[in-house]
Amino acid sequence: MLELKSVDAGYGTFQALFGINLDVRAGEAVGVIGPNGAGKTTLMRVISGLIRPAKGSITMEGHDVVATPAHRIVDLGIAHVPENRRLFPRLTVDDNLKMGAYMPGARAKYAERLEFVFDLFPRMKERRSQMAGTLSGGEQQMCAIGRALMSDPKLLLLDEPSAGLAPVVVQQVFELVKRIRASGLTVLIVEQNVQQVLKVVDRAYLLEAGTIRASGTSEEMMKTDTIKQAYLGV
Amino acid sequence: MNSRHAAWGVGLAALIALPFVYRDPYHLHILVLILIWSFAYTAWSIMGRFGLVSLGHGGFMGVGAYVTALLWNHLGLSPWIGIPISMVAAGALALVVAYPCFRFRITGHYFVLVTLALSGIVLQVITATRDHTGGSLGYTPNRAPSGHGLIALQFDDKTTWYLIALAVWVLGLLIWRWVDHSMSRYAMEAISEDEDAAAAAGVNVTAEKLKITLISALMTALAGALYCQYQMFISPDTVSGIAVSLQMVFAVIVGGLYVSLGPTVGAIITIMLAEILRISFGTKAVGWDNLVYGLLLVIFIIFLPKGILGSVLDRLKTQPKKPKTT
């Protein structure tokens, strides 16, 4: 479904990604793990077009992502839940969700999608007329995921969904991810919480200093010594 | 450095000698205008270069011109006293508006809009007091009886005016240099970069900004008063209001904001431009000069934000360095 081939990317003169090869097949959940500053967020941004790769190719179901204007990438079926959620704090939950359905294709299915999101997160229905900035951390994460789902995506990019949340809420968030998977979406998730994320994904990549160091199924990854020592603390 | 001083000395001597050698009254007239406006533009740039973009200077200039003329006509007060009073008035106005702005960190857009409104209001006051100021029809200082020209600061002789304007212009450059070299400049630079850091480093941000504003307003009022004394006619549109404020900004940007002679270059370009347009269009010139001004202002900001002199100097400075960087 999504395929990255030898992608280089960075900010100005600073290069954050070096020759990334990565693919996500339809229906899969794939994780990208690694330490702070490894380039995980950059990887997400380069896929959704927030930054453009210096080299390499990115394709989504055969469409050239690099050649697509940033604001049309969502039309290819890629929805990005950015780091720190990035809701519109002074818009209501309803309006935030509406923004997720901004593309003409999504507008037509607005009512249907809204029902889907409210089914998934009944809490959002209760809070729909509340300003997004006043929601709790967990609710904000729901709202952010809900906003991404409004565009009826095929691939959901989740950037650190557990960051800055209380441990109990982190559990809930990973529950959410499971539910989203169950609804048939393909998910690419970036996480520092390696233990949790390996439980929900089928495969994972280890990203360190901008390059992919290892990859494999979650079981394989969990057994890898380096990951055990560095990330699982076993 | 010495050769630089020498160059300034020679240049100045040549400028002083000029009216004694070359007496074409029209050209002298243009030079006087250029010098007076250069002084006003220099006054503006003293503030502008630190990011204090004021569009209120038309207001200060109007106060300088009108207060001086009104005191002379109504109270018979000599401009020698009237000009200082008008400067104090403009300074007071500047402080009243600037103090709350700086105290409460009204910067950027807000500062521009507040000062812009100030220009507009001064223009409104001049128009509203039409019984005294003649309103939009303009105002003429009374002619002094012959022999009293010195007291009334009225001279028919272009050479005298040229020398006065030249002295004031040099004064303006000296003030520019003084601000440029004084501590307060470093303080101001710190302020325009990062106000909080400057405040943390013990710089009294508000006081420094007020000082610069006051100097700038006093100079601008002086320029307005001199313009009035020289032209012997003022109208709200020529010495006050938003258009005059914008004209100052335009000239300084065209000339170059960060070099001492930038405002002078701006004055030369804008006044020559206005004169050329006036001569080539004749009476139809009304509006055309400002149309070209406006177009050039927009084009300059988009393509040459450092101004003509600034860009030229930049190029001169960077060219010898280029081999080093490669």
């Binding site: 509406k98 | 809009l113 509203a128 938003i242 009304v286």
Partner: protein, 293 residues
């Protein structure tokens, strides 16, 4: 003495009502400026000059081409909306990454261009539509229909903007964009397009104001100077980008101008408004309705 007070009260009441009527149009202008500032982070110094061009548009359509007012008005609104979009496209867009002050000064250059264009093209004579609307008499008070019409139309215009902003996708995007500019593309929003639409909308509001003001005031190239500065003060006092603050400040200023004009000339009303503004800056420096965050 009693008779004097009676008359005085009636004039006072009339001035208060006229102030409210004036406030409507000022609020419309403040809304346009705030909208553009809120979305694009730029202030159009030449905003009142767009109104002036709109007023000339109305004058020529009605006087020279003999169009009825109701036909000319929508054309004038579209004309100024187009002008707003053009201003953004030609001047602001190339400067989007430049320091904000440069954008501001560039619109100052446009002010020069529009004023002198009007001088060159239309001359400096005062012109009016020649439409005289009747005066409404309530008791001893007199209100001109042109002001009532202006007030009602301004309110309708603002209401239309409100519905556009809350009910449509584009309107929601306009509200969202100032809260997080970078992620707009993730929503599939083309920020450049939103900027252009906002500029056109801001222009349309200036056009509407032009249609209303041309019924009350003569048009000349410098007419913008009589309400431009006051609009800026309103926006600063209400907080740039703050729609509600601008709305309230517009009526406060309109009352000051109207009541000030009762005692002296209208110009003194402006001076009074400015003095009030300075005092308010000492009392509430962050604006009338500062957003506490």
């Amino acid at each position: 003495m009693q008779a004097f007070l009676d008359i005085f009260d009636i004039y006072l009441l009339e001035a208060v009502v006229n102030g409210i009527l004036l406030g409507g149009v000022l609020a419309l202008l403040a809304l346009g400026l705030n909208l553009i500032f809120g979305v694009i982070d730029v202030t159009w110094i030449c905003y009142a000059e767009l109104v002036m061009i709109g007023m000339y548009g109305m004058y020529y359509m009605v006087q020279a081409f003999g169009l009825p007012y109701w036909v000319a008005a929508p054309i004038a609104i579209l004309l100024v909306a187009g002008l707003g979009a053009l201003l953004h496209y030609l001047v602001i867009e190339p400067l989007l990454t430049a320091p904000p002050i440069n954008q501001l000064l560039a619109t100052g250059g446009v002010l020069f261009i529009l004023q002198s264009f009007a001088t060159v093209a239309f001359g400096i004579d005062f012109r009016n539509l020649g439409i005289r609307l009747p005066v409404l008499a309530i008791g001893d008070m007199h209100f001109s229909y042109s002001r009532l019409l202006a007030f009602v139309a301004a309110l309708i215009g603002m209401l239309a903007v409100y519905f556009f902003m809350t009910r449509t996708y584009t309107g929601t995007a306009i509200r969202a964009i100032s809260q997080d500019r970078q992620i707009m593309s993730l929503m599939g929003v083309d920020t450049k397009r939103i900027y252009l639409i906002t500029s056109a909308l801001g222009g349309a509001l200036a056009g509407l104001a032009a249609c209303l003001l041309v019924l009350q005031y003569d048009v000349h190239p410098f007419v913008g100077l009589s309400f431009g500065p006051i609009t800026f003060l309103i926006c600063v006092l209400g907080g740039l980008g703050n729609f509600v603050g601008g709305f309230i400040a517009a009526f406060v200023f309109a009352e000051i101008i109207s009541l000030g004009g009762l005692f002296a000339d209208l110009e003194w009303g402006y001076v009074l408004a400015f003095a009030f503004f300075i005092v308010m800056m000492f009392i509430r420096p962050a604006g009338l309705l500062a957003r506490r965050s």
